[in-house]
């Protein structure tokens, strides 16, 4: 068995929330002076009986709680978890940006961390000068950078502008240069945050390709990402962090699917009776379900089943159930309308019932969306609930992501047949 190169033991990180001191020296001195004379602190918040007690209980937040794991030489470990679970804090401690509150991390070998590309780039300096500066910040020696300089320039494809100040670069050139430097680091252990995965799709592909290359060379990689496809294709091992605790640790695909099914859960049933987003006066629609093979998760490219329960005290002639999907910038992506798409629903409805709508293949690119629900009679809106629920569309667990579809290519995916013919 190969060597353990990172040993994390009982790692805890505690943040104090709110104001730690009063922020100004004057107020701190004032409070200190008051304490000395056993008087009331003039800067204490009114109503707080005991400032000390307050500090000890509610103002602390544990980002990491007792995390322990080992990483062996050559492993590519993906770290997943929801936003705020503590992944980035863990990376920050490993890359020594901040210190843990308790516990230790022991490391064998040189660590390079890429929490951002282009750290320390100075706009006034030329590309050449920035390569050296950025390389040195990331921990390379001058000799190493000189040795790899030509490679870096070739990789970045900006050799013509290498002596131009980077403030004149396009943002694409800037990112390419920054990534080129990062890609030529040769540490024993590489720590990468998902921040790397921003930028256009081509850039992402390049990043991930380079990561795969690094992994093949037998170096140890820690990789934080929300891109489950990248995680499953790159990582031999996945660590799931939930609320600061190490939840699962093991083979990639099984943990990813567990994470997707459990932690991304969408409530199965939403009663609409007291829905806050309902336009007042309407009371026709009762319930709204999202059902996907018993797992309430919306997957890109997969079917999505929606059920709507209704109770119509009066007869509704020609009811139209309208469901629209919106992205977070408010754009309506598509609308489905029962009356236009089916003859299965009777021309008049009365009493209680349930409508089932099955989207055959969800064309939404992974991301967050919200759903609006309306009930119409021709020419008349009977009920409307805006943002009836938010859904998170995820990659399907099968490895579609090797093609690197991403939201940067648009909001929807269109299936197409491609043919080729020799002339």
């Amino acid at each position: 068995m190969s060597d353990v190169v990172i040993r994390v033991e009982n790692l805890c990180k505690e943040y104090r929330l709110g104001t730690i001191s009063h922020g100004t020296l004057y107020q701190d001195l004032q409070s200190g002076w008051a304490k000395l004379r056993r008087k009331e602190d003039p800067n204490a918040r009114i109503g707080s009986i005991n400032q000390e007690q307050l500090n000890n209980t509610s103002d602390r937040f544990c980002a990491l709680k007792d995390v322990t794991f080992d990483v062996r030489q050559g492993e590519v470990v993906g770290i997943i978890g929801r936003n705020g679970a503590g992944k980035s804090t863990l990376l920050k401690i490993i890359s020594r940006v901040t210190a843990p509150t308790k516990g230790t991390i022991k490391i064998k070998g040189r660590v390079a961390s890429l929490l951002e590309v282009g750290t320390g780039f100075h706009p006034e300096l030329t590309g050449r000068e920035n390569i050296f500066l950025n390389g040195a910040i990331l921990g390379m020696h001058k000799g190493e950078i000189e040795q790899k300089f030509d490679e870096i320039v070739a990789f970045s494809e900006i050799d013509k502008f290498i002596d131009t100040p980077v403030k004149r670069y396009s943002s694409g050139m800037y990112v390419r240069l920054a990534f080129a430097v990062a890609a030529h680091l040769e540490p024993e252990i590489l720590v990468v945050d998902e921040v790397l995965a921003v930028g256009d799709a081509q850039f992402q592909k390049k990043c991930l390709g380079k990561m795969g290359e690094v992994a093949k060379e037998g170096r140890t990689v820690l990789f934080v990402s929300h891109n489950m496809a990248a995680i499953t294709s790159l990582c031999s091992r996945v660590i799931l962090i939930e609320e600061g605790k190490l939840k699962r640790d093991g083979k990639g695909s099984s943990i990813v699917s567990e994470y997707l099914s459990v932690s991304r859960s969408i409530p199965k049933s939403n009663s609409l009776i007291n829905h806050p987003n309902r336009t007042k006066g309407y009371r026709e629609l009762l319930t709204f379900f999202l059902i996907d093979n018993d797992k309430p998760v919306a997957y890109f490219g997969e079917p999505l089943v929606i059920k709507i329960g209704y109770n119509f005290p009066d007869i509704i002639a020609v009811p139209q159930f309208v469901i629209s999907f919106h992205n977070l910038s408010g754009m309506k992506v598509f609308t489905i309308i029962s009356d236009y798409q089916t003859n299965d629903i009777p021309a008049s409805l009365h009493g209680k019932g349930e409508i089932t709508c099955r989207i055959l293949c969800l064309p939404l690119m992974p991301g967050d969306y919200f759903i609006n629900l309306q009930l119409w009679q021709p020419g008349q809106k009977l009920d409307e609930i805006e943002n009836v629920t938010e859904i998170q569309v995820e990659w399907v667990n099968r490895n579609i992501g090797q093609f690197n579809w991403d939201s940067g290519m648009g909001v929807i995916y269109v299936d197409a047949d491609w043919h080729w013919r020799r002339e």
């Binding site: 001191s21 020296l25 901040t98 230790t104 022991k106 064998k108 750290t119 921990g139 100040p165």
Partner: protein
């Protein structure tokens, strides 16, 4: 083998020969500054120096000329106000040279101090994303200020030669050999004060405001616009506590051959400098590990 040690070994797996290159733990100890690591990052120090210098004069019209204009104007203003109008004596030295020697030396110290004092705040962006020994940044500042000092010092030397050749009453002497040491001491003092303040500004932002004012007060508490010999004997001890007093007086004495320095004042100054630098480094190394959580 101590019992505590053996217990620790048995708690680890057998294949672990425990030659870890690095151990990350919560901040502990008062003086864990890693000098060998700092040395490993010497390339970065030089690159920061280069960046500071290039970035500074790329954004100005007159470029490095500013380094000359600033002490020149200050000296002229001091000569007019303190010598001509207030008629403060200058130990029989040409007032222009007297003020210029003080200004050039003081400027180096003051800019080292003010520019290192906001290390954490101005570099929060880089510090939050990547690790390197944080002391690299203030050390680079101190070195890049040395470039400005060299230019200004050259100006001072030019005037010194001019006055010497025109027969002014000045006597450069053997104390000149001490000048490089004085420079090191000024750098150390500026660095020490700067990192001390920068460690406190992560918590108290208003110290930055007080700093500009404080530097000015400190300058007037240092014999720059007046000679130390003008201070009554019973207050000399107070001036000796100011580490800059001895530095400025010695600097001036070495080039101009007039002044009132006593060896014990130099000793006090040196002790103060070492003390301030040590406290500065301790504070800095305590703050550097967790300041990202508070800033």
């Amino acid at each position: 083998m101590k019992p505590g040690f053996s217990k620790r070994v048995t708690s680890m797996p057998d294949n672990d020969n425990s030659n870890w290159t690095m151990e990350i733990r919560s901040r502990s100890g008062w003086f864990d500054i890693n000098l060998s690591e700092l040395w490993r990052y010497r390339d970065l120090i030089l690159l920061f120096v280069r960046r500071d210098f290039v970035a500074y004069y790329k954004q100005t019209v007159l470029g490095p000329l500013w380094f000359l204009l600033q002490p020149l104007f200050t000296t002229v203003v001091f000569t007019i106000i303190f010598s001509r109008i207030a008629q403060i004596p200058t130990d029989g030295l040409p007032p222009f040279l007297f003020y210029m020697s003080g200004t050039v030396a003081w400027t180096y110290f003051a800019s080292c101090m003010t520019q290192t004092s906001n290390t954490f705040i101005t570099n929060a962006g880089i510090f939050g994303k990547v690790y390197f020994p944080r002391l690299v940044v203030p050390i680079a500042v101190v070195i890049s200020n040395l470039i400005a000092f060299a230019i200004q010092f050259g100006l001072f030397l030019a005037f010194l030669c001019y006055f010497y050749l025109t027969g002014a009453d000045i006597h450069p002497n053997g104390w000149l050999l001490l000048v490089p040491l004085l420079l090191v001491q000024m750098a150390a003092l500026g660095l020490g004060m700067g990192i001390l303040i920068s460690s406190m500004t992560t918590k108290y932002r208003d110290l930055v405001m007080a700093l500009g004012f404080g530097v000015q007060l400190w300058m007037y508490a240092t014999p720059i616009v007046y000679p130390l010999s003008q201070i009554p004997a019973q207050w000399q001890w107070l001036f000796a506590l100011n580490p800059m007093t001895a530095i400025i007086e010695t600097f001036r004495y070495a080039f101009l051959g007039s002044g009132a320095i006593q060896p014990w004042v130099l000793g006090v100054s040196l002790t103060m400098t070492i003390l301030i630098l040590a406290v500065g480094i301790v504070m800095f190394s305590r703050v550097e590990k967790t300041f990202m959580d508070t800033i």
